[in-house]
Point group: C2
Chain length 229, copies 2
DNA sequence: ATTACTAAAAGACGAGTAA
DNA sequence: TTTACTCGTCTTTTAGTAA
């Protein structure tokens, strides 16, 4: 254990302090037995006792010990410590640029997308619903594994429907699209309605010829950003 | 270590997960070296590495490891875990009955208070500003050590000023009061303006004769509640 | 530079026990 | 019942090292 030059409370101690706070230790003394606290935290009474001693030693709680138990109160310092932790979580969940980021390598298209962007029935919808007049050709990306998880989370976003249609007795399936930026360029992720695309591959359309504009070739890494909400 | 039957993530792992979230691991892959993470958490790179392995094993993060570092993303499960923790802190700070609780034993008064409640210049103010027509006699309490801290926190509350005055060439000092309830009965804590009362003793006035009403004698424990804000 | 293994050192844990 | 000590064990940590 590093000496922790006054900078931070050890994780277990903080967890223990949190439990005391949940029992009401911020508002006044709460009766806590080491057994009860131990059960709460999944540790032995002995260890619970040690935690309380440690918290007291750090000035995070004060105690009144009696033969039949003890009363514990969280000090101002202890409360500050909890507030700092709370602030971290607020930063995680309340702020943020609200952007999902995907990363992957450029691969040769599966062809399907190229086909889509040459059909008027689709192109019109891309233009009207997504605001993209697609460059003839798509951009296919194999996500790094760490991005596949992010892609899953994106299922909850507001995808725009691209309707299927029939033309000259031929049926064209539906799809859905989501606006994004590719290294700064506007575009959209397109996911065919039925066909099961592999989890780690996404197909992108853009008004720009991205391969040329970004000077990319197969295997190069690309970053994609998607606004949340 | 208990087996932790799927019920909870170990405190250190959670702390580590929180750090990753603060680096942006919720929105997409973040480049994290074990060294950087270790420095952030005050642990060695080896331990940081083990933490990441552990988090991955629990399905809380996914990783892409490269010879020159790694990309880490928080999974949906990991995010849930963080949200649960966040919810705990919200409960601590956002909810609650907003009551400070004090506890102590009834002691014989220091006399000073009894004096106060017999002087019209004070009594009028108690009545008008605190809404209390004081019973002649005060209630003195020696706080248990665990309550002394709470009393300190109460300094931030909205105390009502009791002004000093002069009568027949005699000077009467100011004081401040704060409404409270004593075992359910209305009253107020009175703190003399100048005199330095011991930290662990509080003096209470009430419209009721509390000793009789509550059937208390010296040494009995009493609970006092004060509304916050 | 990385990550993560092995092995020695450090530290934490819970059983037993006293007060 | 409590709290918290000692002590033996076991876990965790870090240093060293390999890939």
């Amino acid at each position: 254990m590093l000496t922790n030059y006054g900078c931070m409370v050890v994780a277990e101690d903080l967890q223990c302090l949190k439990s005391i706070a949940l029992m009401g230790g911020r508002d006044g003394p709460v009766s806590i037995s080491t057994q009860k606290l131990g059960a709460e935290l999944g540790i032995s009474p002995q260890t619970a006792s040690r935690r309380l001693i440690s918290l007291e030693g750090q000035g995070l709680i004060t105690r009144t010990i009696r033969p039949d138990g003890q009363f514990v109160t969280i000090t101002g310092t202890g409360e500050e410590e909890l507030r700092t932790e709370y602030a971290s979580y607020q930063r995680i969940f309340e702020e943020g640029e609200r952007m999902y980021r995907l990363e992957g390598e450029l691969i040769s298209g599966l062809g399907e997308g190229r086909y889509y962007v040459s059909i008027e029935g689709y192109v019109n919808q891309f233009r009207e619903r997504l605001g993209i007049d697609p460059f003839p050709g798509t951009f296919n990306i194999r996500l790094i594994p760490a991005s596949v998880e992010t892609r899953r989370k994106m299922a909850g976003l507001d995808w725009i429907a691209i309707d299927g249609f029939t033309d000259h007795d031929r049926t064209f399936g539906g799809a859905k699209g989501l606006r994004c930026t590719i290294e700064g360029y506007d575009g959209a992720i397109i996911v065919p309605g039925r066909s099961h695309y592999p989890d780690d591959i996404i197909e992108i359309i853009s008004g720009t010829g991205l391969r040329t504009a970004l000077d990319l070739k197969d295997g190069d890494m690309v970053k994609i950003e998607v606004k949340r909400e």
